[in-house]
Amino acid sequence: MDLTRNSGDSLDVPRGLADEGKLYRRCDPEALTFETTADLEGSVAFAGQDRAAEAVRFGIGMRGSGFNIFALGPDDTDKREIVRHFLEERAGEEPVPEDLCYLNNFQDASRPKAVCLPPGTGRKLLGMMDRFLEELAPALTTVFESEEYQSRIQAETEQTTQEEQEAMEALQQETQEKNLALLRTPGGFVFAPTKDGEPIPPDALAQLSEKDRKKVEADIEAMQEKLKTIFLRLPKAKRELRERIRFLDRDMARTLVKDLLEEVRDAFGDNKDIQEHLDSIEEDVADNLEILKDVGRTGKGQEGEGAPLAGVPVGLGRATGGEAHWPVASEHPILRRYRVNVAVDHGESEHAPVVYLDHPTYQNLAGSVEYQPLQGALVTDFNLIRPGALHRANGGYLLLDAERVLLQPFSWEGLKRALQSRELRIESPGQMMGLMSTVTLEPAPVALDIKLVLLGSRRLFYLLAGLEPDFPELFKVEADFDDRMERTRETEELFAGLIAGAVNREELAPFRKEAVAKVIERSARMAGDSEKLSVRTRSILDLLRESAHWAEQAGADTVGPEHVQEAIDHSIYRAGRLRDRIQEEIERNTIFIDTEGARVGQVNGLSVLQLGNFAFGHPTRITARVRPGRGEVVDIEREVELSGPIHSKGVLILAGFLGGRYARERPLSLSASLVFEQSYSGVEGDSASSAELYALLSALSEIPLKQSIAVTGSVNQHGQIQPVGGINEKVEGFFDVCDRRGPSGEQGVMIPAANVKNLMLRDDVVRSILDGRFHLWPVETVDQGMEILTGRTMGAQEDGGFPEDTVNAAVESRLLALAETMRRFGNGSQETQPHA
């Protein structure tokens, strides 16, 4: 420690830390082996992530069940890019998975079939089937209007018609021979007697003789029987004719479809599923021949002719009102069922897929079945099945943000179900919840072979590991991404490569090596440690972009250190409104902070405020008062519930220190109160516990503390000063207050000695310290700190007491007086003593 002290009871202010290398560790541009980042190829941002990289490599390589990866760590470490890099590297060596097609299930349209085909052949099948659909209806029309067909139908029809006609002609002939006529009535037929071929009028009929009447009656009865026989035989004959024509039609249709599908059969000869599907199409065409013939003739269907799909008669794409027109023949509802829905097409893929899904809703993840409105109802078919990311990534890798998955209803459960069953099922959440009453589909499940990588924070990982029973079984590989790395000459060079990679990817102007050095220094400051580098690449990337922006504004071809500094300054300025307001109020004495003179029981503590990504420090007045009591130290912040548990713990440690040093043999008969003055919000952390102890010792000894010095550091029961966070912000916060008021040359900050390695101070602060206008005192013990703050020696214990005129002696004397007061007032039952 660079502390010096004069001999004697009264101390001068020591010089403090004045080594530039310890105040701000620079990166030497000359040590970098390039001139600008254009000279470097650049690297992927996984420098410093050896542990995580190893875990990811392991996870990718392990093919066993449940060896999925959870990449945990801070969000801005570019986990995704690093993981994606490894995945793509591995996927590049793996084969392209099969295409996935959905086909109509002719036995049950609500359960479409899923068929896997070699990569690229899905679209081939689609193309072939589309050609088939274009040809089918016109070909049917041509065949069924052909001379051969018509001749056969005519022959069949004529046979039946001739039989009917002969029967009727015979009947007519006999009717005429018997002087009768067959007349049509509103409800049927009657036989009426005729004369000269004309019906005899009813009044003339009434005058027929009994004999004639009976003869006519008998003739009519006989003819009625014959007509009845013909009537009863006619429907049967017509039915038989229809049946014969139907068989003929089916035969011709089958032959035609077989011919049209021959090319498809040959191309997919070894695929049993496709062959069976083609068989079904042949049968279905034969079953729906009349509709198809109509489509071929007019290119449109008739109302209500759509054969049902999924239990619903569909006319998807039908225009409202009037006749339905189908711009594309294959869009006709009867033809849609023969189409192919290529859900996953790997025709253009060269290797296994790597898919990142940034909006993992259940539908985007597991696929969905869409609907189309039709006459007020929602209808669907297998053509409306949409694949999810799991389908697209099947046979490869899928990256997901864990938090986003958990925030989406059903997504986590769906993902787990798929991983556990190793099957992909498309289910509608609305259907699961009973919110939809329309008919939906249940597509056949697909085997799932996927490596899943979840990206998330550490907190989320540990929460899932602790609370989700299935999590450990499904995510056995933990890739823990660090947010900082060791800072050495070698890692600085590595980091420069990382910067060059980012600059090249973002197509920014090249950074000169001095600018790169500045970025590296800034990275150390972001890490809060001169011996570490932050690998929070997103923040670094923002700095690079902003620096390039300022370089461009200045018309520079390359980015220099001045542009990096400008970017840093501007980002601090943009975020620094509250910091400036606090500084301003301190300068205007609205917030009471003394930076000169000395006060009893009062010290300048230092706090850090974190607002988003911006943190800044500022001084806070801490005061202490004592009186006789039972040895408790009252933390006013805690009493009003404005302090967190760590702060309260720090205060309670103070009583331990006091008891251990001054009241080993007798009770500690004081009551002390500590307060952060003008603090109206919560206080957390124990970094002010040393400052509170200094204020308490000052109040007890009644020795004033120098207000020109601000203090940070936590303390343990033995009086050792322990390191704290935010050291740079705290030093700069007090420096700014002093700088606004005009530096006196005596001001400075007392920091834990263990925090010296964390120093990466602002340039103006470093210059002031080196010029002696501001000071930095690293301390290891409370005694060192009290001596700096009071200018008096603490005094070591000798023969059970402390030397006179030392701080410790003054404290002990006061504690004895308080104990005597307590004794006189009878075991401390009355607490009416005046405050010290």
């Binding site: 009535t185 037929f189 009434a206």
Partner: protein, 283 residues
């Protein structure tokens, strides 16, 4: 061969008679008659005959009605027959109101009671064209006896209309070069003139006569102003081909000489069974 202009003069149609009963095909005949009368600027006379023979039959107890669907034989009830006949008159009247509401036609409606064929033939004497509703598959015998009697004895063009048949803008003429065919061509020219209508000729002749027919038709058409038609050649034997062709053309009215109908019953049946539009028979 008479020229086209002569045919036109012979077929001046000033009165269209629609013989209508309450059946679906009767009402279709009414609609077709309204349309053709409007196109030819003719007067429409609608006639409904209440069949006196039918009304008198219930008075003869031994004449019984037979239901064609069930084969049941039942007694004719005078009240029932009267009610049905009246109801048919009402239906015709209502249909008339419906179809005439937006036309400027000169029209009249009369209901007579008598023997159907006699009444129709009597009324046909003062008409130039008769529109008749007919049952399509009437026991495989073609038009019923009343319709056949009108076609054979009226000597006037008769338009047969089936249930569901609607008169459209495309008029086809089955052309065999006969005087009736020329009259039909002339009438078709008139029906398609000044409209966004189309006229088609279907040549019905053996191979060696077709060239002559084409020339005759072309010559006749040249003499008519603004006449233009597509000419299709169809072998007369292939009745189904005529039917297919008409369906493909979306034929709205087929004009055919009676002789062509009589030449082959197969042709007639093929046309009738495949036809979805009215059929106008000439000669």
């Amino acid at each position: 061969m008479p020229d086209l202009q002569g045919g036109l003069e012979e077929l001046l149609i000033g009165t269209v008679l629609a013989a209508v009963d309450g059946s679906e095909y009767g009402l279709a005949a009414l609609q077709a008659a309204v349309r053709i009368a409007a196109l030819l600027d003719a007067e429409l006379r609608v006639l409904h005959v209440e069949d006196s023979d039918l009304l008198g039959l219930p008075s003869v107890p031994w004449i019984k009605e037979m239901d064609p669907l069930s084969g049941e034989i039942r007694q004719l009830q005078a009240v029932e027959v009267e009610r049905k006949v009246r109801w048919e008159s009402t239906r015709v009247r209502r249909a008339l109101d419906r179809v005439l509401v937006h036309t400027q036609l000169r029209w009249s409606f009369s209901v007579t009671r008598g023997r159907v064929v006699s009444e129709l033939l009597e009324a046909a004497k003062t008409a130039d064209l008769i529109s008749l509703g007919v049952r399509r598959h009437s026991l495989g015998l073609g038009p019923g006896s009343s319709a056949r009697a009108v076609i054979e004895h009226s000597g006037k063009p008769v338009m047969m209309v089936w249930r569901g048949a609607r008169m459209g803008k495309r008029v086809c003429v089955l052309f065999d070069g006969s005087p009736e065919a020329l009259k039909g061509l002339a009438l078709a020219c008139r029906l398609t003139r000044d409209r966004d209508s189309e006229l088609f000729l279907i040549l019905d002749a053996p191979g060696e006569e077709r060239a002559r027919l084409v020339e005759a038709a072309a010559s006749s058409l040249r003499s008519a102003e603004d006449a233009g038609a597509e000419i299709s050649i169809v072998p007369r034997e292939a009745a189904w081909k005529v039917a297919c062709h008409l369906r493909r053309l979306a034929c709205g009215l087929l004009v055919i000489p009676r002789a062509a109908m009589q030449r082959s019953e197969a042709v007639a049946a093929g046309i009738r069974e495949g036809l979805e539009c009215p059929l106008l028979i000439l000669g």
